[in-house]
Amino acid sequence: MCASPYYRMQIMMCAGTGCIASGSLDVKSALERELVKRNLQNEVQIVMTGCNGFCAMGPLVVIYPDGIFYNQVKPEHAPVIVEEHILKGRVVEKLLFKDETVKGRVPLMKDIGFFGLQRLIVLRNRGLIDAENIDEYIARDGYGALAKAVTEMTPEQVIEEVKKSGLRGRGGGGFPTGLKWEECRRYDNFPKYTICNGDEGDPGAFMDRSVMEGDPHSVLEGMAISGYAIGAEQGYIYVRAEYPLAIQRLQKAIEDARSYGLLGKNILDKGFNFDIAIAPGAGAFVCGESTALMYSIEGKRGMPRIKPPRSAEAGLWNQPTNLNNVETFANLNPIILNGADWFASIGTENSKGTKVFALTGAVVNVGLVEVPMGTSLKTLIFDIGGGIPKKRKFKAAQIGGPSGGCIPLGMEDVQIDYESLQGVGAMMGSGGVVVMDEATCMVDTARFFTNFSVDESCGKCTPCREGLKVMFDKLTDIVEGRGQEGDVEFLIELGHHINNTSHCGLGKSAANPVLSTIRYFRNEYDAHIRDKHCPALVCPDLIDFVVLEDKCKMCGMCFKNCPSDAIVWEKKKVAWIDHSKCTKCRTCIMNCKFGAIR
């Protein structure tokens, strides 16, 4: 880990279960006391890290930038460490770690890219607690933030803290959460509501599902804190119907929290009432839009309405309503407990904290990844994701789902934060990152996303309902070989119209996949239209199905795999394709290791 620019030194305290059990938290507070005593708290930072793997020698302390490793540190060692090492720069010999034999063949978590480069806030409890056991959540400081909020803070102070933290909505928009709460608090029209948006509809995004399944109480606690801040007594979690396990675990969590009195009347005897109900969705992508979601909870068709009034003024049942996404709520416990300054110290100037990404597609380590804002796309895909499988080349990453855009090869150094992504024509969205390799056709991909938006358009406003259909038909023409000169210009113009004139967020961003693929892969569109050829060999109508003699290694893989016996091949002879039998299924192309079929 690199040293933060604000601190001269960092003390890494192991906070693995083993070290905590042997007292690393006591050592931490002892070190903190010593630092304050010598007025070093602004120069030296104490960092809690994951398990170092030497539990039997714990508690472990590593001091950077020197990288000196101390073991079996006790609180009474704190003065000597601070006095000798931090102030005078002298290593404390007697605490030095000497035995190197502990290291085995199995690497440490912090040394493998996938886990080592992640920093957990939202997923802090992942894999550590039993989701259905409220006591285990409490053991990881669960409900401590709610307790702190209702006992030590006024609602205004909670809002101030969230504003100061710089937390922005993780559902895609990136609107500052604190400002949203402040606006909702201002209205004196009761009852008010706070809603959790768990309608994770972006294809390829599953971080909210993972949080709701793996750590449901962190969502409930965040919602209760928001209820306290804005003055709401009722919360709703809107969950997709496709997530039965999440619904089941949230239900159990709500019941457990109620029986502990952490939801319900007079929470923790502080006079705060708050309860939560689950509102299951019924399969409509547009219900991720705030006003549509509220209509859906009311039992109506989920169609967005024009804003203003904003939901903060007139939302659910026309009452003031706050809506945040699952990941946003899961950030609140650590923000309240560790303070806004701590949270604001992570990330970039305008995007604070971490972001969870669902890394999918043509990448080795498919999975959920939480990294500080400002991490580069390259780190995400290559260091954490492990790169592209099958020795293929990276072509583009699609970020932000059907509303997002593509980031092509050559721009993978872009920092991941709200503004930088927008600058390159993509968006944060909910955090789905789909990696594409050279075997992906960008026109076909744009068509896929447009088809998705056509299906999911609610049909209320014309640009989205009709415009996307026209766009989809045009893209179909192009991939099926009927493309004409001028089609791309037409798509650009139509795309801007759709984005500028639609009612809601779905329509306003629905043309992004097309516009961004045109922006970066214009040559592929041109190849489809002018040469009637699909460079990625995906669109069957634009493939010649001819074996290139100079590339064919005569291995016979195409012959062995062809389901319709359309390939003629003998040992040591170049294969050829019998077009009267070929069904254009592309099996031969997928099985040819030498790219000899075009």
Partner: protein
């Protein structure tokens, strides 16, 4: 369960930490099967029931078998974490019944990490 107070929150935390970390407790080992939707789809339930059978068979009172949510590395599901007292937790990936059996015998009972199946030792890094 009675309604709890802020003091209760602290008490529950203390009690649970005793259970969740193995040191000095009555437990010798803890096996966590990661059971999110992806893990279950990849066969985590099978692994879970196998461990349940093995533990019952040997009547091992000092082994905690528990489940938790998705561990994040979906490409390598099913995943389990095995923690033996006084050592670091070890994550195993792509676990099936056969591997689970070997892990149970060599690591949970014998205390030796099954290096061939292990992904990594240790736990994850919290944000600073």
């Amino acid at each position: 369960m009675p309604k709890i107070s802020i003091e209760d929150l602290k008490r529950i935390k203390e009690e649970q930490i005793g259970k969740m970390v193995l040191r000095g407790g009555q437990y010798r080992a803890k096996v966590t099967v990661h059971m999110g939707t992806c893990g279950i789809a990849a066969g985590a339930r099978d692994v879970m029931s196998l461990f349940r059978e093995l533990i019952a068979e040997k009547d091992m009172q000092d082994v905690i078998l528990t489940n938790s949510g998705c561990a994040g590395l979906c490409a390598k599901e099913p995943m389990i974490t095995v923690e033996v007292v006084d050592t670091a937790p070890v994550k195993y990936v792509l676990v099936d019944r056969e591997k689970a059996k070997k892990i149970f015998e060599e690591h949970v009972i014998g205390g030796h990490v099954v290096e061939d199946y292990a992904l990594a030792i240790g736990s994850e890094t919290m944000a600073v």
